[in-house]
Every structure is written in structure tokens, then in C-alpha cells.
């Protein structure tokens, strides 16, 4: 596939990628950077893409990996408590903290609750439910078995419901 054609097809998914990036970073300027970095990587490694496979899933996978590589590391580095002790021991699937004033405002309780979900749960809901991606593609993006995706969707919804119940009280 010619590079120009590849670029044109890839850019058709920019809105979906940006939406995903906003929910991952919770910060539009950072989402800008994340999407731009995603495309630069995708174009640089276009030869690794297998024509006929799902370009959208490949792009989401690059975006998520980029986020995990850079943004999460940075979040952890910045999560040093006032006493200087790194606050790295955030367990997997631990709820994210409440939005601080520096991040974008949530419009609804649903959005606020989604943002509080751990990345693995947030991602699986955004891809499977919001983007309507087949579970096989979600599994590819998240680099895990389909069964794990199903399990995460179930648990994510449980967690989401629990958070919404908290807001109700």
C-alpha cells in the first residue's frame, strides 16, 4: 500500500483515537500530543502493518502502548508525595483518584465515574462499548486473550455501577 494511501486511511480514525486519548489522559492538550505521537509512530512503522488486517485496532494499540509507555510513567513519577516517597505502588485495577482542578471537567456522573476507573477497565469499556469494537480487536489492542477482555468488561461494569451508586448517595 502506498504511504500516502496508508496515511489517508489512518487519518480517517483520528476522531475515535482522539476521543480515546481524552479519556485516557483526561487532558485535551495531552490527548493532542498522544494522538500526534501515535500517528508519527504509525507512519514510521507503516511497513509493519499487514494490509487486510484491522487498521483501527492497530492504531488503538499503538495509542494505548504509547500512553502506557510515556504518560503512565510520567504520572507515576509525578505521583511523589510531599514527603518525597514515590507513590508508585498503585495496585493494578486500583481506582484513579478524583479529578484534580488541572484536568478537564466531567459533564456527567457517568463520565466522572468512567474516569475514575482504572485504565484497564476504562479502556475495555471505551473500546468495546463506546467504539463498538469486536472483542477480538479489543483483545488485540490490549494484548490479552478474549476471555480476559470479557472478564474485564464484566468487572468494569460492576465497578462503574458501584461508583454511580456512590454518587447517588
Amino acid at each position: 500500500m502506498p504511504q500516502s494511501e496508508f496515511e489517508r486511511l489512518a487519518l480517517e480514525h483520528i476522531d475515535a483515537l482522539y476521543n480515546f486519548a481524552v479519556y485516557l489522559t483526561r487532558n485535551p492538550p495531552e490527548a493532542d500530543d498522544l494522538v500526534q505521537e501515535t500517528y508519527l509512530r504509525a507512519f514510521r512503522f507503516a511497513d509493519r502493518f499487514t494490509p487486510g488486517t484491522h487498521l483501527r485496532a492497530w492504531l488503538f494499540q499503538i495509542l494505548r502502548n504509547t500512553f502506557l509507555t510515556f504518560y503512565r510513567v510520567r504520572e507515576r513519577e509525578s505521583a511523589i508525595a510531599d514527603d518525597g516517597v514515590p507513590d508508585w505502588d498503585v495496585p493494578m485495577f486500583h481506582d484513579a483518584p478524583e479529578d484534580s482542578s488541572s484536568v478537564m471537567e466531567a459533564h456527567t456522573d457517568l463520565e466522572r465515574a468512567l474516569r475514575r476507573l482504572p485504565e484497564e477497565f476504562r479502556t475495555v469499556l471505551l473500546l468495546a462499548e463506546v467504539e463498538g469494537m469486536p472483542l477480538e480487536e479489543v483483545a488485540r489492542v490490549m494484548e490479552c486473550p478474549v476471555g480476559t477482555v470479557k472478564s474485564r468488561i464484566f468487572r468494569a461494569k460492576e465497578r462503574l455501577r458501584a461508583l454511580l451508586r456512590d454518587y447517588k448517595r
Binding site: E7, L11, I14, D15, L17, Y18, N19, V22, P28, A31, D32, V35, Q36, Y39, L40, F43, H107, T108, D109, L110, E111, L114, L125, A128, E129, V130, G132, I153, F154, K157, L160, R161, L164, R165, Y167, K168
Partner: protein, 232 residues
């Protein structure tokens, strides 16, 4: 609304997420920034072939410059002068091909050049003799004698057969009892005079006004003491 969500089934919750979660569209400038970031540096379409053509032409010109015919002066004396200067330059850069001492080498030089020297200037307190060699210029066999003065100037005396060579009258200068032509070529000066059917040249790079007086003196020394004759 929370109540609805908190009690919703998995399917309903999924539908609500799709329907009610705000979607954020990528700003238009983001697409433009990405396209600009991946675009190769802009270069006019005509520039690359034009640049390649110019570079190729330059290479060809440089490669063939040594092979191009030199623009030769119309004046035969000036043309011969150019060859004499070129030979002087070669001796200046690389020395004589096979410097011979005189007078012992005179018979061999006469045989090689077809020019005999009944008398020869062998050097003095101002000019030191460096060597002699046969030369072949413009289809003529000749002889060259090289001297070096105290200031390091190489002075070459060259004799070539040139029966019909006219000397330019306008360039002739009275030096004592002789009237040689003073000719210039490519940064070198030469005294040129005729000795019967032979053309004689005394070449050096002494082109400044002060050096010209010294060069006159060298001419007198060489002219007085040297007597070339055709050998055959």
C-alpha cells in the same frame, strides 16, 4: 439518572455509555499538524532534476577542462613564448628532467637538441648554474639551461630553432647594444631575441619594476657569454 445506571443491566449500561458519554472530536489543527509533521521537506518539483542536471554538467566540465583545446595566441612569437613559459614552470615545479653539467654534457646536448653552444654562460656570483637539458616544444627540439639567483628566482635560458619567427617590434627594448623583445605570459617575463635562425628566451618570474632592472642585468650576462648555433 444515577439510579438508572446503578441498577442497569450490562447491556443497558453499554447502551448508555454509547449514547450519553460525550465524544470528543479531534481539533482540525491536529490533523493539519500531523500531516505537516510527516510530510517530507517541501522542494520544488523542478528543483531536484535541475539540481542534478547542474551537478552533472559541472562534473563533466571539470572532467573535460584539461582536454579542452587551449585558446592559443594568434601571434607565433607569443604562442612559442607560452610554451617556453610552460616549460619554465615545469622546471620550476619539478626541476630539470635530467640535469646535465656543462661543458661535459655539451656534446650530448648538441646531439639531442640539434643546437650547439660555442660559448656558454656557466654562472657567476649572481647566477648559479643548475643544469641543462634538451627540450621539445611546438614541434621543435631545443636546449634549456637553468640558473638560480641569490634571491631564489629560477632563470631559464632556452634556445629553439625558429627561422621565420618575427619579434614584435612594439615590445622591443634597448638593453645596452641589444634590442630584445620583452614579453609577458601568465605571470612570467621573458627576454626574446633572435640569434640567426634561432630564437632565444630568458624567462623568469621577475616581473616587478625593481626586479626588471636585475633581469636586464641577467640578460646582459647571458647574452654576452652565450653563443648558440645550429648544429646541423
Amino acid at each position: 439518572m444515577n439510579e438508572r445506571f446503578s441498577d442497569a443491566s450490562d447491556e443497558e449500561l453499554g447502551q448508555r455509555l454509547r449514547a450519553e458519554l460525550p465524544r470528543y472530536a479531534a481539533p482540525a489543527r491536529l490533523s493539519a499538524a500531523i500531516v505537516e509533521a510527516v510530510a517530507p521537506p517541501r522542494r520544488s518539483a523542478w528543483l531536484a532534476p535541475a539540481f542534478a542536471a547542474a551537478a552533472t554538467a559541472l562534473v563533466l566540465v571539470l572532467a573535460f577542462v584539461p582536454l579542452l583545446p587551449r585558446i592559443l595566441p594568434a601571434d607565433p612569437a607569443q604562442r612559442l613564448m607560452r610554451s617556453v613559459v610552460a616549460e619554465h614552470e615545469r622546471a620550476l615545479m619539478w626541476g630539470a628532467r635530467r640535469p646535465e653539467a656543462i661543458p661535459t654534457a655539451l656534446p650530448w646536448l648538441t646531439q639531442e637538441s640539434g643546437i650547439g653552444l660555442t660559448r656558454v654562460f656557466g654562472g657567476d656570483d649572481r647566477l648559479a648554474f643548475r643544469g641543462a637539458e634538451p627540450v621539445y616544444l611546438e614541434g621543435r627540439r631545443g636546449i634549456a639551461l637553468h640558473y638560480r639567483d641569490a634571491d631564489g628566482h629560477l632563470v631559464t635560458y632556452m634556445v629553439l630553432p625558429a627561422p621565420a619567427l618575427p619579434l614584435p617590434d612594439r615590445q622591443r627594448v634597448q638593453v645596452e647594444r641589444w634590442k630584445p623583445a620583452l614579453m609577458y605570459d601568465n605571470g612570467f617575463l621573458a627576454w626574446v631575441w633572435k640569434h640567426g635562425d634561432l630564437a632565444c628566451f630568458l624567462v623568469s618570474d621577475m616581473v616587478s619594476e625593481a626586479e626588471l632592472e636585475t633581469f636586464k642585468d641577467y640578460f646582459v650576462r647571458v647574452r654576452t657569454a652565450t653563443e648558440p648555433v645550429p648544429a646541423y
